[in-house]
Every structure is written in C-alpha cells, then in structure tokens.
C-alpha cells in the first residue's frame, strides 16, 4: 500500500503534520491559539476526514453522521464512569461501538443510493437523537447530558449520579472531587489534550491517504464515477460501500470519543441533524474528495462558530478605529449584523460564495491560485500532486 505513495504524497503528509503540530504558534495572530478551539480543529478535522472517505470517494452523501459522533461520545463517557479515567479504553470502546452501529445503519441504508440513501441516514440519525433525548434517558441523561461524577457511595445511587470506575478503584487511584481524563497520569485537557488529538488527526489523515491510494480506494472512486458499469462487469459493489461506511462511522466515533476525552460530557445535541449538516458543510467548504480540504473546512467552520460569534460592537469599533467617526459608526453598524449572534449569516454567505464560485471548495481556490502563478512565472508547471483526483475529474 505504501508503495503506491508518490514523493509528493510523503511531502504532503510531512507538511500536514508540521502544520498541525505548529498550530498553537501559527494561529496566534488570529486569536485562535487556545486549547479548546485547537482541540475542536483537530477533532472535527478527524470527523470531516472520515466523512470524506464516504462522501468524497464514493459520492454517497450521508446526512446522519452525527449519530456516530454521539454514540462515540456516550460510549467514552460510560467508559469513564464504569471503567477508568484513562482515555485508551474509552477510545477503543467508542470506535468499536460506533463501528457496529455504522454496520447496522449502513447495512440497511446502503440498499438504496442517491437521495434515498441520504434520507435514510437522516432518518436514522434523527431517530438516534430522539432516543438519546428522551427514550433512553437512563443511559444518556437526556437534555442535561451525561457527565462524569464522583464515585458513588452506595449501590442505591443511580449510575447517572455516581460512578464506579472499576479499574481505577481496583488500582487504588485516589480521586479528589470529580476526576479528569488522563493518559497514564497526563491530563487530557488543555495543550496535552490538543497534542493527543493532533497526533490522532495525523494518524487518521495517514490512514485516509492509504485508503485513497489503495486498490480499495480505487474501487470506491470507481463507484463514484459509474456504479452501473462496475455492476455490469460483475463486481458486487455493496461490500465496498459498507466497508467505507463503517470506516467513516468509526472515524466519527473516534471524533466523538475525543470530544468526551477533552471535555467529559456527552449531550444529545451532538446527534442533531444540524450537527450532521455541519460535517457536510465542512467537507464541501474545504473541498470534497480532497485529503486536506475537509480539515480546512472544519477549521473554518469552528473558527466562525467560536470566534466570529464572540466579536461584539466593542471589538468592531477597535478594528475600524482608523476610520473617521461617522464612517466608523456606519461600518460597525453594518458588520455587527455578521458577527456575534449573526455568525450563522457570515457562514451562510461564505458557503454560498464558495459553492457558487469555487465548486471544489477552498482547495479549488488554492489550485487556481497555483495555476495562475505557474502560468505567470517562468518555471514550467510541475505535475499537480495527485491528491485531488476526484474533484478534478468532475
């Protein structure tokens, strides 16, 4: 599999790793270099990379991926409550459960293609959300969300309100108040949490690259370009699709698990259709079918959600202070529609502009820029890296 990697592939991986690991420095100027947002970049990056394995390679648009994110989150918190605050069992459990869940949903949903597949996955996700919200309250704690708590004093206290943590208890690890997640004693909040997520993002990116370059990946791309023709040549495509669906479900489960690891609470809203829509936006915004695009899209959306929503008129006045007073007031008045609670508007506009003018997402923008530079400058255009085969063919 690795043999199929070209030199530029290795270069891409190395550069990607370097960029991800240096984010805490490079994002400083735009005010995004704080642990929570960096963690979200990495986690939703994983989510989007996984989603892209299904959507980008096979063209099957799942509108229910948030269900796996939620399942992963709940599984991780239960692992903290029942087993140990160490994150490794939580990771394994989340990925496994999300995988099984994806197999069930995928087995049924993948009997149909196109819009019917999308609607089926949407229906499953919405069912999962409602189950988590009200029916399965003993497991999910409904709206309030499932939280890690102190060790319960007696067996009469329900597991929602008091934990057992069998492994930690057996090892005699002392606890003061409500414990925090750790990797063999290293705190998984703050910057260590980010580096943990970042390393996993790089590993996930590498795996996605391997898949994309493998025969299996070639088959998935073939499904996207013409499934009928594959069927006529006697290839049974569904096992490939189910495999892709399960892999991408496991990615989502991993992302969900990391959300719980960096912040041990799991709420039903993670499974809502808006969350499923968000990952579709991320992938399309960044560039579906490309490797780096979904990660970029995830970063853009999370930045808008966390930072643009926090800009208020005071900050705008500061930013436009170079303008004369009346103009400044007008400009601030105008832009205040788009920041603070209006950040959805900004995101919507950005999405529209990108989809209309750059159907291939931000990555297409980069490609066009590179082509423009290559034509203008003297060196002959080098063969473009093969990281973006699908989008270019469209």
């Amino acid at each position: 599999m690795l043999g199929t990697f070209s030199r530029s592939d290795w270069l891409l991986l190395v550069i990607f790793s370097a960029v991800v690991l240096t984010l805490p420095w490079t994002l400083e100027p735009i005010g995004a270099a704080y642990p929570d947002l960096l963690q979200k970049f990495a986690i939703y990056g994983i989510f989007a990379v996984g989603f892209n394995i299904l959507f980008g390679l096979t063209g099957y648009l799942s509108f229910g991926h948030a269900a796996f994110l939620g399942v992963g989150s709940y599984a991780a918190v239960w692992s903290f409550k029942l087993l140990t605050m160490n994150v490794l069992p939580a990771l394994a459990l989340s990925i496994a459960i999300a995988g099984v869940f994806a197999l069930l949903i995928g087995y049924i949903s993948l009997r149909r293609a196109g819009i019917y597949f999308s609607i089926l996955t949407l229906a499953f996700a919405q069912m999962s959300y409602n189950l988590a919200y009200s029916v399965l309250t003993p497991i999910t704690n409904g709206e309030t969300g499932l939280q890690v708590r102190a060790i319960r004093k007696s067996a009469e206290v329900s597991l929602r309100d008091g934990d057992v943590r069998i492994i930690d208890q057996a090892l005699g690890i002392p606890e003061v108040g409500v414990p925090i997640t750790n990797l063999f004693g290293m705190k998984m909040s703050g910057y260590p949490g980010f580096y943990f997520c970042a390393v996993l993002l790089i590993v996930c990116f590498f795996i996605a690259m391997c898949i994309s370059r493998s025969n299996f990946g070639m088959m998935l791309k073939a499904i996207k370009s013409n499934q009928n023709r594959l069927n006529y040549t006697g290839i049974h495509t569904r096992p490939y699709l189910i495999a892709a669906f399960v892999i991408s479900g496991m990615y989502a489960g991993l992302a969900g698990s990391l959300l719980s690891i960096t912040d041990p609470i799991a709420g039903a809203e993670r499974m809502q259709w808006t969350a499923s829509g968000e990952v579709v936006l991320m992938t399309i915004l960044g560039g579906a079918g490309t490797l780096v695009g979904p990660v970029l899209g995830a970063g853009l959306i999370k930045y808008a959600e966390q930072k643009v929503s926090s800009w208020n008129e005071g900050i705008l006045h500061g930013a436009f202070s170079f303008l004369p007073e009346p103009v400044q007031d007008f400009v601030v008045e105008f832009f205040s529609f788009f920041v603070g609670e209006g950040w959805h508007l900004t995101l919507g506009l950005m999405f529209m502009i990108i989809v209309i003018f750059l159907p291939g997402g931000v990555m297409e923008g980069f490609r066009r820029l590179r082509r423009a530079f290559a034509n203008g400058a003297s060196p002959p255009p080098r063969p473009v890296a093969t990281t973006t085969p699908i989008a270019e063919r469209d």
Binding site: A18, Y34, T144, S189, I265, E341
Partner: protein, 449 residues
C-alpha cells in the same frame, strides 16, 4: 526509502524544523504558568480584571439572555463608578468604592450558550483559556448552568449562576466553585402550595406538562410533592422536548384526562407557546369535575408574561423578583436600568446584576480574586438592599435564601410591563430546608493550579 532518496536535502530541512518545534514544546506547555502568578488561574496582571458573561443569545431562552447581558453591562458600569450606581448605593455591604474591584477596572467578554451544554462549555472555555476571564456568570437554563458549573470547577474559576431554578444546581450537582442567587423549585413548591390551596381548594386533579431536562424534572417533582401534600391528585405528567414550539399534541390528551388543573413546567418561549395554545384550546373556559379548569405556571417571569399577553390573566406562579417591588434596592435598580434601556428589568436581569455585585463585593472583601478566598467571603454572607430583603448565602450548599414572591397575572394591566401582581411574599423561614435534603457534595475549592 527509494522515494525519499532524491530529495534528501528537503527531508533534512523538514527534520530540522520538526526538531525545533519539539524543543520549543515544553516551554509552550508551561506558558500559562510563566505568564501569571502561581496562586490561581487567570490572576489579573494588568490594571483590569476580566469577567466572562455567558448568556443564551439564540434559542428558547434568548429573551432572558439579552436581558441578562443588559444587566451585566449595567453592573460593570456601576462597579467602575459610571452611571448612577444603581443598587451599589442600597447594598448593605459598603466594601465596593466604585473604582472597579480591588482597584482594577472591570472589563468583560461575552459568549453565546445557545441554550446547549456543549456550546455553553465551549464558549466558557474560550473565555477562560483565551480571554483570561477570572469568573464566569450567566445562563438561563439549569442544564447549561450545571454543565458550566462543572467546567468552572475543573478549570478553577468561580461560577456565579444566572437564572437557574433546578434543585440540582445547588443540590446533587453542586460544586464548591459555583454559587447561586436565584431560588429553586423546592422553594417554589413551598411558597406556591398554600396560595394554591386558598385559591383552588384541596380536592384537585393535576396534569403536568414538563420541559424534558433537569429543571423540568426538578420542578415537576417539587410541585407534585407539595400539591400532593395538600391532597391533590396527580393524574399524569408528560415530558415535552425543550424548544418544542408546537404543544398541541401534548394538550389534546389533557382534555380527556379528567384533570382540572394544568401545571405547565415550562419556561421562556416554551411557556409562551404552551400557555397560548392551552388557552386557544379553550381549556380555561371548561368545567371539569364541577370546577373551573385552571392553569398554573410555577415559574413566572415578566418577559414570559409579555410574550403570552392576555393569556396570563389570573394565572398563579412564583418569581424571584419583580420590578414593581417598592423597597429601596428594587427602586434604585429599576430606575438605573430603565434610564439606560427604556424598560424595566426582568427577574433574570435582576439575579445576574446581583450576582455580579455579590462577586465583586466578595473579591473586594477578600482582597483577591483567588476562588477559594472569594468563596469563603461569600459563604455564610448575609446582606440586604439588593431587592429581596435580608438574604443569606448558605455555606452548606452555596444557595441564597430569601423571601419568595407568589405572583398572579394582572386582570387590568396599566402598561405593557405591568402584567404581574404580587399576591404574597412568602417569608424566608417558610422556604428554608435542610441542605442534606437535596444530596450532592460541594467538594474542595479549585484554584486552577
């Protein structure tokens, strides 16, 4: 390795860069510790101190959130010595001097909780990690309050809860770093039950519609406990999702249930919608079991009454504070709020303003912003002049104890804000309870180092 061979120089360069990054990493991990004093998290170093206001700007409780933010901005002005000083003038503790807190000017950052635990924790984290907020306050949902309180305990900053009415906030989910000024459902039950008994008698059948989260559960439990104590019967209790919008499917079964009282354990836009629809269904014009069908809304606010309009007339409920109160503190607050914004404050605004002042006062008396010291200054603190009469911040559960207002929708409102009348002021002694009753454990303070 064949692939890499021709480009050895590039690889070496990258390797050097990666090495440099690795070397720089340990410094980075400890950056927070070097940048500030080692005593506690986000200790202010300059001449300002930053507070984090985390309120719902979107979702079912957005109206409350907007009013909370107005109150916080007013509080910051008063703390910094601008404006007319509001309740600082009537507050029984005179530690604050109108020059900020501990000599530092008060600055603030804001965040949108979206009435979702995830979003609320994310914005609180941003304020703590990126904006160096030393205290987080606000919120209009108990689910969110509990989630953010847990986060503040972990992070090591003080959490001054905004509008949160569930018993759990200072009950089974209480935390040492969290403090609540608002009352809770236990107090609502104790205050409301005698009034309901006088108005509707002891032989009633109640049907509950309950918002499906911690506050709804808590309120349903408390109201059941106290009304069943009166001799009422609970026919059924149905859970509705938060922010449902349309409640007709939940209201239809009420008609045939044989119940003669509908208890709406809803708040914010949910209550506005469910009450309006219940009235449209003609529930209030009905006769069941030979009695007039009545509706009770245990937790009331003026903002909701405004939203529901005509429909609130004659409906009982409880509230933490109402702008028509005539004590000096309330009058001062209504005056300065009204002058700045042009309308009277809601109970959400009042509790948030009070929390901001109480926090500032505790810091001033403690002489530091260190959570454990500030907490000790708040524990067992008795004060007056903030609009609720004499109040105690109980040390055992970080809950304020004060008189509870039972209110009724006014039959003949004189203005668009004059919608509720105070029926009874239930004295503090009547709503006090044993801290053990609600369970939970405060645990130790966390200073975040």
């Amino acid at each position: 390795m064949k692939i890499l061979y021709p480009n050895r120089r590039k690889i070496l360069q990258l390797g050097a860069a990666a090495g440099a990054a690795t070397l720089a990493t340990p410094h980075f991990f400890s950056r927070g510790a070097f940048a500030q004093s080692m005593d506690y998290r986000n200790a202010p170093t300059g001449d300002t101190v930053t507070l984090g206001f985390n309120v719902p700007q979107t979702g079912a409780y957005a109206d409350e959130g907007a009013d909370e933010l107005r109150a916080y901005q007013l509080a910051v002005e008063h703390l910094n010595g601008e404006g007319d000083g509001g309740m600082l003038n009537t507050f029984s503790s005179k530690a604050l001097e109108g020059n900020g807190i501990n000599g530092k000017k008060v600055a603030f950052v804001t965040g949108d909780t979206q009435t979702k635990s995830d979003a609320a924790r994310a914005s609180a984290k941003r304020m703590i990690e990126n904006d160096d907020a030393v205290m987080i306050t606000g919120g209009s949902s108990s689910g969110v309050a509990i989630a953010v309180q847990g986060l503040c305990q972990e992070a090591g900053v003080i959490f001054m809860a905004g509008l949160t009415h569930s018993n759990d906030t200072t009950g089974k989910d209480k935390r040492a770093n969290g403090f609540r000024h608002f009352f809770n459902t236990e107090m609502t039950g104790a205050a409301l039950a005698p009034v309901l008994k006088n108005a509707y008698g002891t032989d009633r059948k109640a049907y509950h519609l309950t918002a499906d989260y911690t506050w709804g559960w808590s309120q349903e439990e408390s109201i059941k406990k106290y009304t069943e104590g009166l001799g009422w019967e609970t026919v059924s209790a149905v859970r509705t999702p938060l922010g449902a919008g349309d409640f007709s499917q939940y209201l239809t079964p009420v008609l045939n249930s044989g119940a003669d009282v509908l208890v709406l354990n809803h708040y914010g836009k949910d209550m506005v919608n469910s009450l309006t629809q219940a009235v449209q269904f003609g529930l209030r014009d009905k006769q069941v079991n030979g009695k007039d069908f009545v509706i009770v809304v245990p937790l009331y606010s003026r903002l909701m009454a405004q939203g529901a309009g005509e429909n609130v007339k004659g409906i009982f409920g409880s509230t933490n504070w109402h702008w028509s109160l005539q004590d000096e503190g309330s009058k001062a607050f209504v005056k300065s709020f009204g002058e700045k914004y042009g309308f009277p404050p809601s109970q959400a605004a009042h509790t948030c303003y009070s929390q901001a002042l109480l926090y500032a006062d505790a810091c001033q008396r403690a002489g530091t912003f260190q959570p454990s010291e500030v907490g000790k200054a708040l524990e067992g603190f008795e004060f007056d002049g903030l609009g609720n009469g004499p109040v105690l911040y109980r040390a055992a559960d970080h809950q304020c104890f004060k008189d509870v207002l039972v209110v009724k929708g006014k039959e003949n409102p004189s203005s668009e804000f004059d919608l509720l009348e105070v029926v009874e002021v239930t004295p503090r002694a009547q709503v006090e309870y044993d801290p053990e009753l609600l369970g939970g454990e405060l645990g130790p303070y966390n200073d975040g180092v």
